[in-house]
C-alpha cells in the first residue's frame, strides 16, 4: 500500500451528527454524551443467526485475502526463500535462522530505536499541528476557511511519489528552492547547502514531508469534530469564566476524546509503516543512517531478494507494534464498552 495517512475527511467513530439532527425527538446533534445522551447501542435487536450472516462476508474476505497471506508470510519467515528458491519454487524450512540472524545484528536494534523515535516525533507533531490548524479552521471566516481547507485538500490529494520528488527538488543541494530562498533572504552558507548531510538531517526533512502530508487528515477531521461540539457548551464554559485553554481542556477535549484516540492510533500505524517517503528520499542514506524498519526490511529483504528475511522482519515489526499499541487496544475496547 503506497498511501500513508490519507484517509477520510470526516472523523471516524466519534459521534457523527446525522443530517436530520434537527428533529425534535432526536436532539443528538453536537453536544454528544455530555448533554444527556440519547439511548444508543445494540439493545433493540434480537441476536441469533442474523449478526453472523451480516459479518460473514467481511470475515471470509479478511480470512481469505489477509489472514491467509499473513500466515503464508509467517511461514516464509521460517524458510529460506532467496532468488534461487523463489524461481525453483522450493522453500526449505530453516527454523529460526532468519530471526537469529536479525536479532544478532546490532544494526537491527539501532533501526528499531530510530523507528520508534521517528514515529513518536512525527505523531506528536502531526497531532499538535493538526489540532491547532483544525481549531484555526473553526475560528476562521467562511472565505478564509475555504482557502485553507482547499490548500489542505490539495496537499492531501497529491500522489506521494510526486510529493517526494518535489520535496527532493525543494531541498536539493544545487537547484533547491529552499537554498535559493535562504540566499535571497541573505543567509550565508547556502550556496550549496546539503540538507541531507547526516542521517538526522535527512530524517528531519523526511519529517517535514510526512507532517506536511499528514496534517490535513487530522486538521480536517478536527474541524469536522469541532463543529459537532454544541455552541451552548462554549457559552456555558465562558459563563464559568474559562479562558481559551481551559475551554479546550474542559469542553473540547472530553468531547473529542474518541477522535484523538482513534486518530493517534491511525497515525502511529501509518507513520510507523511509512515506506515511500523514507526510502524514496535518500534510500535510507547517507550511510544507512536514515533507515526505519520498513526501509530496513526492504533493503535487507526485497532488494537483496532475501524474502524469508524480509518476512521475519515484518513479523517482528508487527509483534513490536502490537506490544506498543496494546494499551491503545485496551483503551479503544473500553471506549467500545461504554458505548
Amino acid at each position: 500500500m503506497t498511501v500513508h495517512s490519507q484517509g477520510a475527511a470526516t472523523s471516524a467513530p466519534q459521534d457523527a451528527p446525522p443530517k436530520s439532527a434537527g428533529r425534535p425527538k432526536a436532539p443528538l446533534a453536537g453536544a454528544g454524551r455530555t448533554t444527556g445522551t440519547p439511548r444508543r447501542g445494540r439493545a433493540s435487536l434480537p441476536s441469533g443467526w442474523l449478526p453472523y450472516a451480516l459479518i460473514a462476508p467481511a470475515v471470509v474476505s479478511i480470512a481469505g485475502l489477509l489472514l491467509y497471506p499473513l500466515v503464508k508470510n509467517i511461514l516464509l519467515s521460517f524458510q529460506q526463500v532467496n532468488k534461487i528458491e523463489l524461481i525453483q519454487r522450493k522453500a526449505p524450512f530453516i527454523g529460526l535462522d532468519n530471526y537469529t540472524q536479525l536479532l544478532g545484528e546490532s544494526r537491527f536494534w539501532t533501526v528499531v530505536v530510530r523507528s520508534f523515535a521517528f514515529t513518536a516525533a512525527n505523531v506528536v507533531l502531526i497531532m499538535v499541528l493538526g489540532s491547532l490548524i483544525g481549531i484555526l479552521l473553526n475560528r476562521l471566516g467562511t472565505k478564509m476557511r475555504l482557502v485553507l481547507s482547499l490548500a489542505l485538500v490539495m496537499a492531501w490529494a497529491m500522489p506521494i511519489v510526486a510529493s517526494v520528488t518535489v520535496f527532493q527538488w525543494l531541498f536539493d543541494e544545487q537547484f533547491g528552492v529552499v537554498n535559493w530562498l535562504m540566499r535571497t533572504l541573505g543567509f550565508a552558507g547556502y550556496e550549496q547547502h546539503n540538507w541531507f548531510e547526516s542521517g538526522f538531517s535527512t530524517l528531519v526533512i523526511i519529517t517535514v514531508l510526512v507532517v506536511w502530508g499528514s496534517v490535513p487528515f487530522v486538521a480536517l477531521n478536527m474541524y469536522a469534530g469541532l463543529t459537532t461540539v454544541g455552541a451552548e457548551l462554549y457559552e456555558a464554559a465562558k459563563m464559568d469564566g474559562a479562558n481559551g485553554w481551559q475551554t479546550f481542556w474542559k469542553v473540547v477535549f472530553p468531547n473529542l476524546k474518541p477522535f484523538f484516540l482513534v486518530t493517534t492510533f491511525l497515525e502511529v500505524i501509518w507513520v510507523f509503516k511509512a515506506f515511500t517517503q523514507v526510502y524514496a528520499m535518500r534510500s535510507g542514506g547517507p550511510d544507512r543512517a536514515s533507515e526505519t524498519l520498513p526501509v530496513f526490511a526492504y533493503i535487507e529483504g526485497q532488494a537483496q531478494q532475501h524474502y524469508g528475511l524480509a518476512a521475519a522482519i515484518s513479523v517482528l515489526t508487527i509483534l513490536m507494534l502490537v506490544v506498543v499499541m496494546s494499551f491503545y487496544f485496551r483503551l479503544i475496547l473500553k471506549q467500545e464498552e461504554e458505548q
Binding site: 475527511a9 471516524a12 467513530p13 497471506p69 490539495m154
Partner: protein, 289 residues
C-alpha cells in the same frame, strides 16, 4: 478578505472587533495555506514548464506555459487501458468494501453476538497488516492458483486493504444513530430492513463519503502489488504509468509532473465532491442543533 460576522457554526467568535488578533489569524491562515499548497503548485507549474526551466539554480517563477508535457504523458501506449483498469479496480474495491462493511458494521454496532469483541480487535489489528512485505506471499498464492494478471484478484486485494478501516469508521457512524429513531420507524410499520434503509442509511452519508474517499486514495495509489502480480501490460494500472518517464536516457521531469498532476486530479475531484457533502452535512447538523 477579513472576517465577516461570525456564523452560528463558529461559536467561539464573538462580535468584539478585535482587529489585530483577527488580522494575525487571517494572516497566519494565509501563510499556512501557502505552505501547504506550495509543493502542489510546484508540481503543477513544473508540469507546464519547458524542460530546461524545471531544475534551475534560481527557481523560475515566470515562464511561458507549454502543454507538451501533458501530451507526452497521455501519449503513452495503452494509456487509456491503464485509466480503465485503474477505474475498474478502484471503484470496484470501494463499492465492494462499502457493501460488505455496511453489513458487518451494522452487526457490530447494533447486535449482541459471541465473538463481537474479538471481531473489533481483529478489525483494529488488520489495519497493521504489512501489505508491502506480504506482496511476495500474495504473489506465491496467486501464481500457484494461476491468478496472475487478473483484475478481479487485484480488485479483491484492494477491497480487503480498505475493508478494516471502512468497517471501523462506519461502525462509529452507525453507533451514533439513536436506536429510538429506528424503533420509531419500526413502530410506524417499517420492517427492520426498511428501517435501516430509510432511517439509518441516509444518516450515514458522511461516513460513506469519507470511507469511500479513503478507499479510493488507497486503491488508486497502490503500486507494489500490481507491479509484481500483473506483469501483462494490459492488466496494469496508472501508478506504473507514473514511473515510466524516468529512464536511463534521462528523466523527463516535465512529463512526470504532468502525469502526477493528472493522476491527482480524480482524487481531488472525488475529494471536493465528497468533502462538500460530508463536512457540509456535518456542519448543517451542528447548526440546527
Amino acid at each position: 478578505m477579513s472576517t465577516t460576522a461570525p456564523k452560528s457554526a463558529q461559536p467561539l467568535r464573538t462580535r468584539k472587533p478585535l482587529r489585530p488578533a483577527a488580522v494575525a489569524k487571517n494572516l497566519g491562515a494565509l501563510l499556512l495555506a501557502l505552505v501547504f499548497v506550495f509543493p502542489v503548485y510546484w508540481m503543477f507549474s513544473s508540469a507546464l514548464k519547458p524542460s530546461g526551466e524545471i531544475l534551475t539554480k534560481d527557481p523560475v517563477f515566470v515562464f511561458t506555459p507549454t502543454f507538451d508535457n501533458f501530451g507526452t504523458a497521455t501519449g503513452v501506449d495503452l494509456f487509456w487501458t491503464y485509466v480503465g483498469n485503474s477505474l475498474v479496480v478502484t471503484v470496484g474495491a470501494v463499492l465492494l468494501a462499502l457493501l460488505v462493511a455496511l453489513a458487518a458494521s451494522f452487526a457490530i454496532a447494533r447486535m449482541k453476538f459471541k465473538g463481537r469483541k474479538g471481531l473489533v480487535l481483529g478489525v483494529m489489528m488488520a489495519q497493521m497488516a504489512p501489505w508491502e512485505v506480504m506482496v511476495i506471499a500474495m504473489y506465491m498464492i496467486a501464481r500457484d492458483a494461476e491468478l496472475l494478471n487478473s483484475l478481479p484478484l487485484l480488485t479483491a486485494i484492494y477491497f480487503v486493504m480498505v475493508l478494516p478501516f471502512t468497517i471501523w469508521t462506519l461502525r462509529g457512524f452507525i453507533a451514533a444513530v439513536p436506536v429510538t429513531l429506528e424503533e420509531a420507524a419500526q413502530i410506524d410499520g417499517c420492517t427492520r430492513g426498511q428501517a435501516f434503509r430509510k432511517v439509518i442509511l441516509p444518516l450515514l452519508a458522511p461516513g460513506l463519503m469519507s470511507t469511500s474517499l479513503f478507499g479510493f486514495i488507497t486503491a488508486w495509489n497502490e503500486f507494489a502489488m500490481v507491479l509484481i502480480l500483473n506483469k501483462d501490460k494490459a492488466a496494469q494500472t496508472l501508478p506504473l504509468w507514473l514511473t515510466q518517464f524516468q529512464t536511463a536516457f534521462g528523466n523527463d521531469w516535465g512529463a512526470t509532473m504532468a502525469a502526477s498532476t493528472l493522476f491527482a486530479l480524480p482524487v481531488l475531484l472525488v475529494f471536493v465532491f465528497l468533502q462538500r457533502k460530508a463536512v457540509g452535512g456535518m456542519t448543517a447538523g451542528a447548526v440546527k442543533g
